[in-house]
């Protein structure tokens, strides 16, 4: 199930909320767990078993590490059991076929592919487990003594599909003591609606343009079409991804929990370094805390730091999908991060903002081309199309004319201008302000519903002439 669906909005969520708020405090976690299971079963029933096994092993290893607090060797064994299991599951489900394909290509063997579908959320789930076990090992958090609470943490449905990556320490307290109030409900619901609107009204709409390109439903890929195409992809992925994060954060708040922020207007960045502080923040900090710093970070000299950056960004890239283009995408950013670290950043800070901003946007846009096409030759062709200035742009202008309004809305909403103005309005306690705010949210809610209802809208034309 996804949040942005009629089933979720009008059946699952209302029933779940009703039950959740009616049951006594001590059963609220049980409702969460049950809801999570139904939520996941909706997409992939088999995955529930993986999730349960993972939760049990994490919990058991956590307890063991706690038990052998003084015995470094034993402690380490249990750390590696759990890491091994989590990484094993991640590699098996996500990368097995990719590895087989490449081994086949390299050695000429023909090992059959496993064709296992990637279970929803496995990347987020394993990363959370890993953060938990490492934190317990390091002693930065106490191990969870109750399996019931640990299970609640690890199955928490709002964030498993698309983040944010929630660390145990963030919600440790709220697993026991949920801050349920009308204020949290209202603010959470508002946040959820913002995410819903981002996903359904912006991402899906600009995504329709990208879909024309992805499915090759055009006659020529002219420069105009190629440029607005990659722009639409950039906006789609941002509004989709951050929309999901907003919905997750909002839901958590409704339930009385607080998640970490995941996006902070990444497209206003003036350097790549800044971009990665604003984009998918919880993933960035995960790699920083569990890979980059343990590798030595920047404490072992520049040479070592560069190597560390390359490792971290190669991993970040490949985390996004089992395909070479994602690795390439990660390394592409590593290059700019290293350049910025060495000299570029100082220089970027001095030049007028318009230039540093354009620099960052262009690098990010070209990055999305790497991200968007799994096939390397497609990337080359796309780049060529962007600069093939002799080509007839007629069709490109048609799409430009059709999508320019929604693209401009997307660009405008990528800046914090409206969000800030709206936040000021939300603080005013006048009738007019209250009315405007309420109507805005209702508008988002009803328009999103309309979009979701019509999505299946696909009349079978030739059935009844």
């Amino acid at each position: 199930m996804v949040f942005s669906s009629i089933v979720f909005l009008y059946i699952f969520l209302p029933i779940m909320l009703l039950v959740y708020f009616l049951v006594p405090r001590k059963f609220k976690n049980a409702v969460m767990i049950l809801a999570s299971f139904i939520f996941f079963a909706w997409g992939e029933i088999r995955y529930i078993f993986i999730m349960l096994v993972l939760a049990m092993v994490d919990y058991w290893c956590g307890r063991k590490i706690d038990q052998y607090e003084q015995d470094k060797k034993k402690k380490k064994i249990f750390l590696w059991i759990d890491l091994g299991l989590n990484l094993g599951i991640l590699i098996f489900f996500k990368y097995a076929d990719f590895i087989i394909q490449n081994v086949n290509a390299l050695t000429g063997l023909s090992i059959p592919l496993l064709n296992i579908p990637l279970p929803i959320g496995v990347s987020f789930n394993t990363f959370q487990s890993i953060s938990y076990i490492i934190d317990v090992y390091r002693g930065t958090v106490k191990c969870e003594k109750s399996f019931y609470l640990y299970l609640t943490y690890t199955t928490l449905f709002p964030q498993i599909i698309a983040g944010p990556i929630v660390r145990y320490e963030t919600v440790e307290e709220e697993l026991v003591d949920k801050k349920i109030s009308q204020e949290n409900f209202v603010n959470g619901m508002k946040r959820f609606l913002i995410g819903l609107g981002k996903k359904v009204l912006i991402a899906n709409n600009v995504g329709a343009l990208w879909n024309v390109i992805e499915t090759g439903s055009y006659t020529v890929l002219s420069p105009v079409l190629a440029w607005i195409g990659i722009l639409s992809f950039a906006l789609q992925i941002y509004f989709d991804f951050s929309g999901y994060s907003d919905m997750a954060i909002g839901l958590a708040q409704i339930f009385g929990m607080r998640f970490d922020e995941n996006f902070n207007f990444p497209y206003i960045s003036k350097s790549i370094t800044e971009f990665w502080r604003r984009w998918h923040i919880t993933l960035g900090s995960w790699f920083r805390d569990y890979v980059y710093i343990p590798l030595g970070g920047n404490r072992k000299g520049l040479k070592r730091q560069i190597i560390n950056i390359i490792i971290v960004w190669a991993l970040t890239g490949i985390w996004h999908g089992a395909s070479w283009n994602f690795l390439l995408w990660g390394l592409y950013f590593a290059i700019f991060l290293i350049l910025e670290k060495i000299c570029l950043l100082k220089w970027l800070e001095k030049i007028p903002k318009i230039f540093s901003h354009s620099y960052a946007i262009l690098i990010i846009l070209f990055g999305w081309i790497l991200f968007a096409f799994p096939d390397l030759s497609q990337i080359g062709n796309y780049l060529k199309s962007m600069f093939a200035f002799g080509i007839d742009n007629t069709e490109g202008w048609y799409y430009f004319r059709n999508y320019i309004v929604i693209l401009l809305i997307g660009i405008f909403l990528s800046t914090p201008i409206l969000a800030k103005a709206f936040q000021r309005l939300e603080k005013k306690n006048t009738v007019v302000a209250s009315f405007v705010v309420t109507v805005s949210y209702l508008g988002i809610f009803l328009l999103s519903t309309a979009s979701l209802v019509s999505d299946t809208f696909n009349p079978f034309l030739y059935f009844r002439f």
Binding site: I11, T219, S434, F445, L446, V453, S454, P459
Partner: protein, 370 residues
């Protein structure tokens, strides 16, 4: 105050929608969209494990969401507010004209090739004269009404290519005739069909080519049957304030008596009044989609015509049937028997293969023509 206002308005609207959605009666057919809505999925353990069951459940829930028709209008209005000139695959043209957005992709090109092969092979083995008519769609007759720069493929080129590659068959190109009459009301604005008048001009061309005596428009008694027709293009685009179409009936003043045999019923008229009360009004002509329709007339000229066709033939029937002793309409999507045998068994004297271009590039059973 803000919090309370939001809380109470939002909650009441949400709850009303949730409750309505649970209690509202479900219908199985959407008039507005002119299609069957998803039915409640039957439970099956494998389907559940595969995730199929819940997917079906989801389309059921979406299809049956309360006030569905209203939501669709809201969505299309939002799209139009974003100044889009297309909606769900329909171009919103000038003067109330809607057009289908069709891309000639690989599958369609393959379809066309196969259709050419099949028709040529079929025609080679027949002793009776065979005529092919590929009718252009409104998009080719009114390109100037399309949104600026809208990508379309050249139907006249496609028709030419098809005709060049067909063997043992007579072909008639009607595009020029239709363009000549474009100021008249020959295509529906909201539907993919021609009007009866358009069908009249197309049939005139067939009659001319085959030496059939022509009827002028004055020979007909023309009657408006509805001024309230919103066709398939409108069903898809779901626009508000869309101009409606008119449907006419053309009956020869010098009446020809007919007996019309459908699969399960017999009638004495080419029209089926009951459809005028539904959204699917075009089915008024020749009772909608039928596998086979046999019309026997009071003519005694021993001419028996077989029409292998799509629904473009349905309103043409009122012109065709005046000139033959028997007319057999076959829709290959539903009628799977051999046409060669059919011709022999029924003593057919001439064959017309009639399709519109946007259908011809799809798979419509022509592949199994034999």
């Amino acid at each position: 105050m803000q919090r309370k206002m939001f809380f109470y308005t939002f909650m009441s609207i949400w709850i009303v929608l949730i409750v309505f959605n649970f209690v509202a009666p479900k219908v199985s057919f959407s008039e507005e969209e002119n299609r069957m809505l998803a039915s409640f999925p039957t439970f099956d353990f494998t389907k559940l494990v595969e995730g199929e069951y819940l997917k079906e459940m989801e389309s059921y829930i979406n299809d049956h969401f309360v006030f569905r028709d209203l939501w669709l209008k809201v969505k299309s209005t939002f799209e139009q507010a974003c100044l889009k000139t297309e909606n769900t695959g329909i171009y919103i043209g000038e003067d109330g004209y809607l057009f289908e957005k069709q891309v000639l992709d690989e599958t369609k090109i393959t379809n066309v090739k196969q259709h050419i092969e099949r028709i040529s092979a079929f025609a080679q083995n027949q002793k009776v004269p065979i005529t092919m008519m590929l009718i252009p769609n409104s998009v080719s007759v009114y390109p100037e009404k399309l949104p600026a720069n809208a990508p379309v493929y050249d139907q006249s080129k496609l028709i030419e290519e098809v005709y060049q590659n067909l063997t043992s068959i007579k072909t008639i190109d009607v595009l020029d005739t239709l363009i000549e009459h474009k100021e008249e009301y020959i295509y529906f604005k909201t539907d993919h069909h021609m009007t009866s008048l358009g069908a009249y001009f197309v049939y005139q061309e067939y009659a001319k080519e085959n030496g059939i005596p022509l009827h002028s428009l004055e020979d007909y008694e023309i009657r408006l049957v509805t001024d309230d027709f919103l066709g398939t293009f409108d069903s898809k685009a779901q626009l508000i304030l869309q101009e409606k179409d008119f449907m006419y009936q053309y009956q020869l003043k010098e009446k020809v008596f007919l007996q019309v045999e459908y699969d399960t019923q017999v009638s004495n008229s080419l029209y089926e009044e009951s459809y005028l009360q539904t959204k699917d009004k075009y089915s008024y002509y020749l009772n909608g989609n039928q596998a086979r329709v046999k019309v026997t007339t009071s003519n005694q000229n021993h001419e028996k015509l077989l029409v292998i066709k799509d629904s473009y033939a349905h309103n043409m029937a009122q012109f065709i049937c005046n000139d033959f002793e028997e007319v057999h309409f076959i829709d290959l999507r539903y009628y799977k028997m051999s046409m060669s045998d059919y011709i022999e068994e029924n003593g057919i004297t001439q064959v017309l293969i009639l399709y519109n271009v946007s259908n011809f590039v799809e798979d419509l059973g022509l592949r199994s023509l034999k």
